[in-house]
Amino acid sequence: MDLDQRAEALYADWLDRLVRIAFSVSLVALLLYVSGALESYVPLSALPELWRLPLAQYLERSASPTGWGWIALVRHGDYLNLVAIALFALIVLVSYLRLIPALPRLQAAIAAAQVLVLLAAMSGLF
């Protein structure tokens, strides 16, 4: 197996593992949310009136946070589900961090730049 194949196999293994985790977390979080086992921050019954609004109005009417403010609300069913979504958005970043040491220098530099872009996107600056 050459270097490319080893790196691709490593990346595939990490993606596979993390997707299974994110899928399982999503399923459990959704069941806890819609069953009412976890109280939701925005009541489920209020959503049909709120989800038709433009984002700015929705945020104002529901008093929902932006940026990383949602982290403080993960005890609520809806924000626990946002953790599941964030897990999907983190999979590439974590897998790239694992991949970089296995890549040739030029490809490693490109992958490192990609990690910086993902970190910038996560930062909440945009």
Binding site: T66, D78, N81
Partner: protein, 285 residues
């Protein structure tokens, strides 16, 4: 039925059923789910387009992440090819997401409708089989954008390389931007860019497109998360539906009538695109 009067639980169930079907169709037709999800849900469900685009992005992200390990192991995705193009695409996608959330809804709706109708017409007219590149260009050689895969249909190992690397980088910058604005994976554009423009074999183009979407959409997804534009009750049932549907689609891939499915997809895109366009213009609310 007056949509506001319907109980809340109808909608996640309907989304799960729709995206399960989209997962099957997307695999068989060789497209990402987002290009169908955003115009259909944006036009026929009661959610605001801001939330539909966020869900479309994470749906395409989850679907392509689930397929990527299989594609990499089959050597149909190539990391060397994907790394630089996805970097250009994800920077642009980040900018596209910011611009898309800043634009007035009717502008996005009209543009989305026009793009979807245009894409449907392109899918109808365009042959995505490009001519294989015979020699790499200088940048492609530096980045070693080449590889080998086994083609069971031809019964042979195929050596391939790409050319027009600068044009390819520019194309993926544009595709990433549009994907970020509209919440699409844009597989419909990735495949011809890789195949027709850069000269990659079609199977490598299709496989690498999926891997690229997973990387490009990861950056734009954070913009939607941080802006509060991801509603879990819309996004999570859609993610679960498309991932489960895609598994069945992958199993049906050998036997499903791909040509017929593709024609149905084009017809649905024309309908949903026209609906989005007319809604944006205020002609069909």
């Amino acid at each position: 039925m007056e949509t506001a009067a319907a109980p809340w639980w109808i909608w996640p169930l309907a989304l799960f059923a729709l995206t399960y079907l989209l997962g099957i169709v997307a695999v068989v037709a060789g497209i990402g789910g987002g290009v169908l999800f955003v115009p259909i849900v944006g036009s026929f469900f009661p959610f605001h387009l801001d939330f539909v685009r966020g869900a479309g992005l994470v749906l395409a992200l989850a679907g392509t992440l689930a397929a990527a390990p299989l594609l990499l192991r089959a050597r149909l995705s190539n990391l060397r090819l994907v790394l630089p193009l996805a970097l250009a695409g994800s920077i642009a996608s980040l900018c596209g997401a910011v611009v898309g959330l800043a634009l007035p809804t009717h502008v996005v709706q009209v543009a989305l409708g026009a793009v979807i109708v245009g894409v449907a017409l392109l899918m109808w007219r365009t042959d995505v089989h490009g001519r294989l590149a015979l020699e790499s260009d200088a940048l492609g050689e530096l980045l070693r954008l080449k590889g080998e895969f086994h083609d069971p249909a031809a019964g042979a190992d195929i050596d391939w390389r790409t050319h027009r690397t600068v044009a390819g980088l520019a194309a993926f910058t544009g595709i990433g931007f549009f994907g970020g604005v509209f919440g699409l994976g844009a597989g419909f554009a990735n495949v011809p860019a890789l195949s027709v423009l850069m000269g990659a074999p079609l199977k490598v183009a299709v496989g690498s497109s999926g891997l690229m979407i997973s990387i490009i959409n990861s950056s734009a997804a954070w913009v939607y998360i941080n802006r509060g534009a991801l509603l879990p009750l819309i996004a999570i049932p859609s993610i679960l539906g498309i991932m489960l549907g895609a598994r069945l689609g992958a199993r049906m891939l050998r036997t499903a009538p791909a040509g017929t499915v593709r024609r149905i997809v084009i017809a649905v895109m024309l309908l949903a695109g026209a609906r989005a366009l007319l809604r944006g213009l205020g002609l069909w609310i």
